[in-house]
C-alpha cells in the first residue's frame, strides 16, 4: 500500500504531470462554469488534444477536467442561478438565495471547502477500499436501483416548499415531460409528434438552463428596478459561524455522495438531491433551508464531489464506467492502448496510483484557486443588471447550442424559460419539476428492468435482503411526510376544537 502510494507520488509530482494537472483543473473550472458544457462533453472535446501525451499525463489532465468542472459548475449556480451542470441544480436554491442576501462570497467559499473536504475523504476511500467496494456494488441490480430511485423521489417533499400538493404536481409534470422520446427497452416513440428531434427526449440540461437562467432573468425583469447587490469586500468573506454550521452537513453530504456515486446506476445528480433532502430532515437549522442556508450549500456540493470521485471505483477496479464522464475516460484508456478491467491495478500500477495521487494535487490546486477567488468572483454581482442579464441570456443560449449543435435545443431553452417564468410568478417550485425530469428516465428504466427480471411481477423487490431493506426504506420515506402531515393536521384541529370549547364555556 505504502509502496504503491510512493510509486504514485513519484509519477504525480513530475513537473510535466503537475503542469498538466494544473491545466486540466483550470480548464475544468471554466468548462464547469459555462452552462450546458458539462464535464462529459469537456473531456470528450479535449481527448484528441492529449493523444500525443504519455498515457498517464493525458489521464491526469482529463481527470483534472472532470473534478475541476465539479468546482466550476457551482460558481454560476450560486452567482446567477445558472447551473453549469446537472449536479449543481440544487445549489440554485440556497446558494443563489445566499448570493441575493449579499453572502455570495461566503457561499462560494463554503462550496469550495465542502468540495475539497469531500474530494479528499472520498479519495482516501477510493484508495483504501476500491476493490471490495466495487465488488459489493455489483449486488445492486435493477430492483435495488429502483428502490434507490424511489428514495430519491421521496425527497420531493423537501423541495416542495410550503405547499406539498404543488410540489407533487410539479414532480408529476417533470415525470410527464421526461416521458417524451423512445420508451426504455422498446423502440416505440412517445409524445414525439413525428419530430426526429424529440426522439431522444427533451435535453434535460437545456430545460434546466431555460427554467433557471432564462426564467430568473424574465422574473427579475418583471420585478424591475432592483439595485445590484452591493456587499462590501469584508461582507464577502465567510464567517466562523457559517463554517461551523456547514461542517456537519459537509460530512453527511460526503458520506451520501460516496455511497450513491459507487453504485453503477445512480449518479452525482441524484446524490445532490438526496443530500439536500437529508439536510431538510435532519439539520438543526432546517427551517432556514430554502432561504439561503449554508448547510444546503455544503451538503449537495460535498455529495457532488464525493460522487464524482466514487465513480472512479467501478471504473478503475472493474473496468465499468461509474458515470457518463468516466465512460469517456474508459474510451481514452482504450485509445491509449490500455486494457481497462480488474487487472488494471496490477498491470499498470504506476498509471493507476499516479492518477490517484494526482487527485490530491488537483484538488489542492482547486482549493487554492477557488478560495481566494471567491470574493473576486462575487464581484460579478456588482455588474448592473442592464449588462449582467444580457450576458446571462447570451451564455445560456450559447451553452444550449453547444449541447445539441442545433437550433432545436434553443427552442427548448426558450420555452422552458417561459415555463420557468410562470412557475416563479405563480409560486410553483422548480426543484421538484427538475427532480421528476432527472429521475423519470431512470425510474422508467429500472421499473422496466425489474419487471422483466421478475417475469412481469415487481415482487422480486421483496425477495432479496438488500432490495427488501431498500424498498422498505423507500416506502417509509415516501409515506412518512404524508402521515406526519395528517397527524399534524389532526393535532391542530383537535387543539382548535379544544380552544373553541374553552371559549364557548
Amino acid at each position: 500500500m505504502i509502496d504503491n502510494l510512493m510509486l504514485g507520488l513519484e509519477t504525480a509530482v513530475s513537473p510535466e504531470n503537475l503542469l498538466w494537472c494544473f491545466v486540466g483543473v483550470l480548464l475544468g473550472t471554466v468548462i464547469g462554469l459555462l452552462p450546458g458544457l458539462g464535464s462529459t462533453t469537456g473531456v470528450a472535446i479535449l481527448l484528441p488534444v492529449t493523444l500525443t501525451f504519455d498515457p498517464v499525463t493525458a489521464l491526469i489532465m482529463l481527470a483534472g477536467i472532470y473534478y475541476g468542472s465539479q468546482y466550476g459548475s457551482s460558481i454560476s449556480s450560486i452567482l446567477i442561478s445558472t447551473p453549469g451542470d446537472s449536479s449543481s441544480v440544487v445549489l440554485t436554491i440556497d446558494g443563489y438565495q445566499m448570493a441575493r442576501k449579499g453572502r455570495a462570497g461566503a457561499a462560494l467559499a463554503i462550496s469550495a471547502l465542502a468540495s475539497f473536504f469531500a474530494a479528499i475523504v472520498s479519495l482516501i476511500g477510493l484508495i483504501a477500499l476500491a476493490q471490495p467496494i466495487a465488488r459489493f456494488a455489483l449486488n445492486f441490480g435493477p430492483a435495488e436501483n429502483l428502490a434507490i430511485i424511489l428514495l430519491g423521489m421521496a425527497t420531493i417533499v423537501s423541495f416542495a416548499g410550503e405547499n406539498i400538493l404543488r410540489g407533487i404536481t410539479m414532480a408529476a409534470a417533470g415525470l410527464l415531460v421526461s416521458m417524451v422520446g423512445v420508451a426504455s427497452g422498446f423502440s416505440t416513440a412517445r409524445f414525439t409528434f413525428g419530430s426526429v428531434n424529440l426522439l431522444s427526449g427533451l435535453d434535460f440540461v437545456a430545460v434546466m438552463i431555460g427554467i433557471f437562467a432564462v426564467g430568473e432573468v424574465l422574473h427579475q425583469i418583471r420585478r424591475g428596478g432592483e439595485k445590484p447587490i452591493r456587499a462590501g469586500f469584508r461582507d464577502l468573506l465567510v464567517t466562523k459561524e457559517e463554517l461551523r454550521r456547514a461542517f456537519p452537513s459537509t460530512v453527511r453530504g460526503t458520506g451520501l455522495g460516496f455511497t450513491v456515486g459507487v453504485l453503477p446506476g445512480a449518479g452525482a445528480t441524484l446524490a445532490t438531491f438526496l443530500a439536500y433532502g437529508v439536510e431538510k430532515q435532519v439539520s438543526r437549522f432546517r427551517q432556514f433551508i430554502g432561504k439561503g442556508a449554508p448547510e444546503a450549500v455544503a451538503a449537495p456540493e460535498a455529495a457532488n464531489n464525493a460522487a464524482a470521485n466514487a465513480s472512479f471505483i467501478p471504473t478503475l477496479a472493474l473496468g465499468i464506467p461509474g458515470s457518463g464522464t468516466t465512460a469517456v475516460l474508459l474510451g481514452a484508456f482504450i485509445i491509449f492502448g490500455l486494457q481497462p478491467g480488474p487487472l488494471l491495478f496490477q498491470q499498470e500500477p504506476d498509471l493507476v496510483w499516479g492518477l490517484l495521487v494526482s487527485f490530491f494535487f488537483g484538488n489542492l490546486i482547486l482549493l487554492v484557486l477557488n478560495l481566494p477567488m471567491a470574493p473576486v468572483f462575487a464581484q460579478i454581482l456588482r455588474i448592473p443588471y442592464v449588462y449582467l442579464y444580457p450576458i446571462v441570456l447570451m451564455m445560456s443560449f450559447i451553452g444550449a447550442f453547444a449541447l445539441g449543435n442545433n437550433m432545436f435545443t434553443l427552442w427548448i431553452v426558450f420555452f422552458s424559460g417561459l415555463l420557468g417564468y410562470f412557475m416563479k410568478r405563480f409560486d410553483f417550485p422548480a426543484a421538484p419539476f427538475v427532480l421528476g425530469l432527472v429521475l423519470g428516465p431512470l425510474l422508467e428504466k429500472y421499473l422496466v428492468q425489474t419487471s422483466a427480471l421478475g417475469n412481469g411481477s415487481l415482487l422480486i423487490m421483496f425477495q432479496q435482503p438488500l432490495s427488501l431493506i431498500l424498498t422498505l426504506a423507500a416506502l417509509v420515506a415516501l409515506a412518512y411526510p404524508l402521515i406526519a402531515a395528517v397527524i399534524r393536521n389532526l393535532r391542530t384541529r383537535r387543539a382548535d376544537a379544544k380552544q373553541r370549547e374553552t371559549v364557548t364555556h
Binding site: 435493477p142 423512445v182 428531434n197 472493474l318 478491467g341 445539441g404
Partner: protein, 323 residues
C-alpha cells in the same frame, strides 16, 4: 424600404460571389482530375462522445485527415439511438464535405422505427471492419458452452441482458432462438457497460458483447466466454481459444459493421475521391492500431462493394428484428 432593398442586393451579390467562387474552386479541382473538398470537412458521429461509434469516428477522422491534408472536425449529434444524427445527415444531401461514422443503426433504425432514411439514401464509402460478439457469462456459472445456454433456455426460464431493442446483442440472441428453438427472457439495458455490470452482478445469465468491451474482464477471469458468434475463430491471442457458435452446433454469426458514408446524391468524382482517401487510410498504421485495440476483424469494402454488403446485411437484419 430602401435599406431593405439594399440588404437584399448585398445578400444576392454575396450569394452570387460565393457561388462563383465555389464554381471556381470546383473547376480548378476538376482540372487536375477530380474533386477535392473546398474547405473543412465535418465527420458526424450519431452517438455520444466516448462510445464505440465515437472512437471509430475519431480514428477515421484523424486517419483521413492524414491522408487528405484537410482538417476534419468530429461532431457528435446523438439521440434517438442514432436517429437524430442520421436525419441531420440526410439534410446534407449532395454536400460531399460531410461524412458520417456509420454502423448497424443505419439498418436497424429503418427496420424498426419510422425514420425518413434507409441505407440507400446515402453514399457508402468504406466499411472499416466487422465487430462480432462473444457470448459470455459470469466465471462461476455452471454453463460452459453456448449449447449449454440454449439447452437451458429450452427447458427453463433463462434471462439474458440486451442493450436495447435494436442492439446487436438482441439480434444475436434472436438468431440463436431461431436456430435452436430456445427462448430467452430479455432484460433491456441501455449500454454495453450496463449489461456487463448486470452479468457480473449475477442478475442475468449471459450477455452478448463486442470482445473489445470485455477483454479486461476475460483476462482477469471475472467473465467466462461461451462462444464467439462469428464465422471463424478470432486470431487475437486472447480470443483464439474461444470456439465459434457454429463449432458448437449453433449456426449463428452476426457482425456489427463500422464504416464511413457520405451524403446521398454527391457527384461521382467526390465519391471516388473519398474512396481513394479511405484506401490510403486503410494502409496506415493508425488503421491497424484501431482494429487491434478494439479486437475487430479488418474486413474492408469500398463504395459499391460496401453497398452490396449493406443490401445483404439489411435482409438478414430485417428477418431477425424487422417490424
Amino acid at each position: 424600404m430602401h435599406s431593405k432593398k439594399l440588404l437584399t442586393t448585398v445578400a444576392v451579390a454575396g450569394a452570387l460571389s460565393l457561388a462563383l467562387s465555389a464554381c471556381g474552386q470546383g473547376s480548378s479541382g476538376s482540372s487536375d482530375g477530380g474533386y477535392e473538398p473546398p474547405g473543412n470537412v465535418t465527420m458526424i458521429v450519431p452517438f455520444a462522445a466516448g462510445g464505440g461509434s465515437d472512437i471509430a469516428g475519431r480514428a477515421t477522422a484523424s486517419g483521413l485527415e492524414e491522408a487528405t491534408g484537410k482538417s476534419i472536425t468530429v461532431q457528435n449529434i446523438d439521440g434517438g439511438s442514432g436517429a437524430v444524427g442520421y436525419s441531420e445527415f440526410l439534410g446534407r444531401s449532395g454536400d460531399p464535405s460531410y461524412l458520417l461514422a456509420t454502423e448497424t443503426a443505419m439498418l436497424a433504425l429503418p427496420a424498426t422505427q419510422d425514420v425518413e432514411f434507409t441505407y440507400e439514401s446515402f453514399t457508402p464509402i468504406m466499411k472499416l471492419g466487422d465487430d462480432y460478439t462473444l457470448i459470455v457469462t459470469k466465471a462461476d456459472s455452471p454453463l460452459n458452452t453456448c449449447s449449454d445456454l440454449t439447452d437451458k433456455a429450452q427447458n427453463e426460464r433463462t434471462v439474458v441482458a440486451i442493450s436495447g431493442a435494436t442492439g446487436l446483442d438482441n439480434i444475436t440472441f434472436t438468431l440463436m432462438e431461431k436456430a435452436t428453438g430456445a427462448t430467452f427472457d430479455r432484460v433491456p439495458f441501455e449500454s454495453g457497460a450496463e449489461v456487463i455490470t448486470a452479468v457480473l452482478g449475477g442478475q442475468v445469465e449471459a450477455i452478448s458483447v463486442n470482445p473489445g468491451e470485455v477483454a479486461g474482464q476475460l483476462e482477469s477471469g471475472d467473465l467466462k466466454p461461451l462462444c464467439a458468434a462469428s464465422d471463424e475463430r478470432y486470431e487475437y491471442d486472447a480470443l483464439k481459444d474461444i470456439p465459434t457458435a457454429k463449432e458448437q452446433g449453433i449456426d449463428v454469426a452476426f457482425a456489427q459493421f463500422r464504416g464511413v458514408i457520405a451524403p446521398g446524391n454527391i457527384p461521382d468524382e467526390a465519391k471516388q475521391y473519398w474512396i481513394d482517401q479511405s484506401k490510403k487510410f486503410a494502409e496506415s498504421d493508425a488503421y491497424k492500431k484501431y482494429i487491434e485495440d478494439n479486437m475487430m476483424q479488418p474486413n474492408v469494402a469500398y463504395g459499391d462493394d460496401f453497398s452490396a454488403y449493406l443490401a445483404e446485411n439489411d435482409k438478414e437484419l430485417r428477418q431477425a428484428i424487422g417490424k
